[in-house]
């Protein structure tokens, strides 16, 4: 579909390793939006916050509480990383909803990098913090002895499938939502005089997409917290 096409921004047809494309543009805008809210918006450091400072503080304490609840108190050390992931995914999703914008998170390449970053971080962290006993994550002590090897195999597979489901969930949700909006917009052109029915449907879908954009950013972040918890406390 046209809206998911990656094309060079400054002429030419080939997309090389370092070509500046519309993906680059919208990622840069995402970073700019995060910077505007978190750095410029909360610059005043007022005791009674302004609107933008209040939004930045609410987001901050929301993520902080999420890490504390899901990963435990010692997960708070990784707050900067998780906050960065949340803000980036959140603004990429929201900016992608602007008409004629490019949704960077609808590409598996973008979300896979984020998810692989989480996967590698968590795996390395688990081995650094726990040594070889991190492998007990796969050895379920509470199960009967005969079942444990089978469970270990299942746990091992589910561990390596994590980055796949983590990245494709976000990309799939964003891609599917935009494709549905496009299909309904196509109905409006085909129906002629009754065009207002699909247009109303698109408006409703757009509201739903706004919800999905926020929830997917939330889910991506909370799963990062869950994986982080496994690295910090592998003994269930």
């Amino acid at each position: 579909m046209d809206q998911f096409e990656v094309r060079p921004l400054f002429g030419g047809d080939t997309v090389g390793m370092f070509t500046i494309t519309n993906v680059t543009l919208w990622m840069a805008l995402t970073v700019l939006a995060v910077t505007l809210l978190m750095v410029v918006g909360s610059r005043g450091r007022a005791l009674v916050p302004t609107r933008s400072q209040s939004m930045a503080e609410l987001t901050y304490s929301f993520i902080y509480k999420m890490i504390e609840d899901v990963s435990g108190r010692d997960g708070v050390r990784f707050f900067p990383y998780i906050m960065t992931i949340f803000m980036f995914v959140f603004f990429a999703n929201i900016l992608g909803l602007i008409p004629f914008a490019f949704t960077t998170t609808s590409h598996i390449a973008v979300t896979a990098v984020l998810a692989l970053g989480v996967f590698i971080t968590v795996t390395v962290l688990g081995f650094v913090l726990n040594g070889a006993s991190f492998l007990r994550l796969f050895w379920v002590d509470s199960a009967p002895l005969a079942l444990r090897p089978v469970l270990a195999l299942i746990e091992l597979i589910s561990y390596f499938v994590r980055p796949v489901s983590h990245s494709i969930r976000l990309a799939g949700a964003m891609m599917a939502g935009h494709a549905v909006a496009k299909v309904f917009a196509g109905f409006a052109a085909a129906l002629g005089a009754a065009f207002f029915i699909p247009v109303l449907a698109v408006a409703a879908l757009y509201a739903l997409e706004l919800l999905v954009a926020v929830i997917q950013a939330y889910v991506f972040t909370i799963l990062t917290c869950v994986y982080l918890k496994d690295a910090l406390h592998p003994h269930h």
């Binding site: 999420m66 609840d69 899901v70 796949v164 489901s165 969930r169 799939g172 889910v219 909370i222 799963l223």
Partner: protein, 78 residues
């Protein structure tokens, strides 16, 4: 009637793979419905459990995503 047999098989397979998403739909509905049932019995405990609601939904959804992935692979990679 033109095109090759492999492509026809890939398209049919992609369509069949989408049946798996129905299973994910059942799973997500089960999680959300049970959450609501529990929340209505004990509304004061509900806000503390929303994180688990979303984790449960995400895990149930993961299996539907694999069927989506298979459909995508059949459409574009095979």
């Amino acid at each position: 009637m033109e095109g090759d047999l492999v492509q026809m098989g890939a398209y049919i397979g992609a369509g069949l793979a989408c049946i798996g998403m129905g299973g994910a739909g059942i799973g997500v509905g089960h999680v959300a419905g049970n959450y609501l049932a529990g929340a209505l019995r004990n509304p004061s405990a509900a806000p503390g459990q929303t994180a688990f609601l979303f984790i449960g939904i995400a895990f149930a959804e993961a299996l539907g995503i694999f069927s989506f992935l298979v459909a995508l692979l059949l459409m574009f990679a095979v």
